[in-house]
Amino acid sequence: MILFEDVSKMYRGAPKPALSNVSVDIGAGEFVFLVGASGSGKSSFLRLILKEERPSAGNVHVLGQDLRRIPSRKVPQFRRSLGVVFQDFRLLPQKTVFDNVAFSLRVIGKSAGFIHDAVPDILQTVGLAAKAKNYPHELSGGEQQRVAIARAAVNKPAIMLADEPTGNLDPATSAGIMNVLSRINASGTTVIMATHDSGIVNQMQRRVIEIAGGRIVRDEHQGGYETSAIPLGEMDTAPIPVITEEMALADPTPIRPAPSDPDDIAAPFPWELRA
């Protein structure tokens, strides 16, 4: 589904590469957390998948296509199979909830009939069916993010990219957003979410890819936010984990030993969905 082959990204004027020799394979239907400090290369990773940037070296394959081989005039077509959600929602303030979602279908030439059916459907999925006629400023942050997710998901994308979608939201609201993303993932969409929210990552127990200094330092299935083992050679530079009160509450064992003992692996937390 998404395949990075030895990908490096160097920005002009930057002393260090944003990504160096990254190789990763993300399969269809996966839910992947992308974690790492600010500036570690998470956003570059997402931008490469979107073909907003081209890699300095290596290949990126998305949905079976080599992105280098997609000519720029075909990029719009390619992006129709991707949905994107941002920390700052990016809704159009002068349009209603319905129109914000419908806009993304209208501009890719979908028929009025299709829009009429698809938009209420996705608003139902994100739990905003009752607020279709409201304007963004009349909604809470969590509701606005749901609209943004509805907009990204209404065209049934194969891949959904979320760049810190809960960055501006309180924990309870974030839980609701994760609920929606999980539901979209359950319907077959691959979800890649960059985040700093340790509580969410620890509770969801999904695949975690950690990036530091442009390299993948951890790729763990059913992982937590904090690295479970400090890799050799990084001992000196690795920051000393600081356990805040919030983190301690969210997860009693933020620094866990290597998951050699099967009992130590927390069962996937059934957050929300199954209920």
Binding site: R79, R80, R90, V107, G109
Partner: protein, 304 residues
Amino acid sequence: MRLGFVLREVATGLSRNFSMVVSIVLVTFISLTFVGTAILLQAQINQMKSFWFDRAQVAIYMCTDFSTLGGCDQQAASPDQKLAIEQRLESATLAPYIDRFYFEDREQAYANFREQFADSAVVDLVSPELLPETFWVNLVDPEQSELIFESISGLPGVESVIDQRSYLDQIFALLNAGSLTAVAVAALMLVAAALLIATTIRLSAFSRRRELAIMRLVGASNRFIQTPFVLEGIVAAALGAALASLAVWGIVRFFVQGYLTEALPTTVFVTNADAFATMPFLFATGIGLAIVASYISITRYLRA
């Protein structure tokens, strides 16, 4: 559906940047009016050329008792000398190029002079003896006056050979300079118009940057994103072209036909038909410019 969407986008864009759109309309209006005027001047020059060049003659002025120029020595041309000229004009070498020629003696020249300058005091100062006898030659091809000039000038009794077109050339040079000036002004104004269109489209794109960002993100095609902006430029430039067409028509209708034709009844002038003929060109120039300027502007904006 999509057409309606595009047209709504164009309407919002035009109303959001109303003052910029007005300035595009005005600048294209003025510059295209200059373009139209230049075209009309060229049409006028061509009409005058075809009118006058057919009538232009080559004059062979014979010596008078007072002339010192050419082969003259203050002695009027003798009958033998005049006969020699006549024979030369009828000779096998020159005859094929000459349509017809005639001889004008002093009395005829004086009568013509009096008629031509009837209102002028100079008539009283001139007597028949002062005016030269003249052979008036109409050429088959007026361009070939050089032939007459080479073979006649310098012959005894000939004061000078003058192609009347040399007088006309000065007038045409003046008109040409006028039309070139108009073209130069028009070119500068068109550059200004193009830059203004580019800036306006940039502003328009900036005021819709949220929509544009989302359109690009969800995969709207480039053409779909660009079309409203290019149309915006086209609408503004077409309005300017319409005003310029109106101005060009007004110049011909009220200034040329209404004033010049009456002031100078013997001269042919451009007509309304000439004014109409410039209009497609004005629209094509204005709209072509708008397409290029707005397309480049929006493409650069989207790439940045």
